[in-house]
Amino acid sequence: MESMQPSVHSLVELLETIADNKYVLGDRLVEVGVSGPNLEATLAAIAMAQGELGHARLLYNWCFDLRGVKGKKPEIYGQSGKALASAVNVHNWITLIAALYTVNTAIDAVLQSALQANHPAVVSKIQKLVREQQDHIVYAKNWAQQLIHDQGAVPHRFRQALNAAANEAAAWLKDVEDKKELQQEGYLPNGVQLVERLQQELKAVAAEPFVQLK
């Protein structure tokens, strides 16, 4: 394995975190999504699982290339341990939607910023992924809006799940913002505001601020 520049090392770490989250979300979309509230939501969840796993494979393979792995790419048998706990711990429809919405919105904030930075080595790799991901976010956002206006204990439980996922995603985004080498190398724009972007997007579901970073 070749020695890597700090900026490439940070890029690999960022891509692997995104890949891990997509790998786990793909798995959870099958496990939990198959018991969705209606036929259409279930079919879409299974189709999106394929999409998420495909995105994960693309990103893992890109990481292998950046690490200088030659020849046939190794098989992926599990995430590398960087997935957010809110995605790993998905166990029902409420936590699935909370994780799918916040994690994909956070990933979208990073990738949209990367597209803005317009680094030639990055743009061509992520353009299609970003486009395909929009349907996943629309799906999760609409289901989030339904759950938050549902009856009984559902809205409260969903708010709890969303708040936990949003805080965790925001902490990760803050970490990415603080990696100045990503901005210096032009992978992300200078002074990128990822947490702010996430907060703005989450307002589509409820007006109150979900993300309260300590």
Binding site: P37, N38, E40, A41, L43, A44, A47, D135, N142, Q146
Partner: protein
Amino acid sequence: MTAAQQRKTFDIFARVKRGDQLTHIGTVEAENEELAKVYASYTYDEEDWAEMVVVDRSELVWVRKPKWLFA
């Protein structure tokens, strides 16, 4: 779920290639247009459609409407 009471039927029309007939290919039930679009594109993905539209069935304007046989 309250949302289940608000589901509407959307008819889906698509054409495989430019110039083909716009054909009715099926329906989805969804809570709103955004979800109907997502459901339609994931459910009816057997072709690489050149064009696909969803139409809220209640928005159809009938020119001729047959009486149902067993209504």
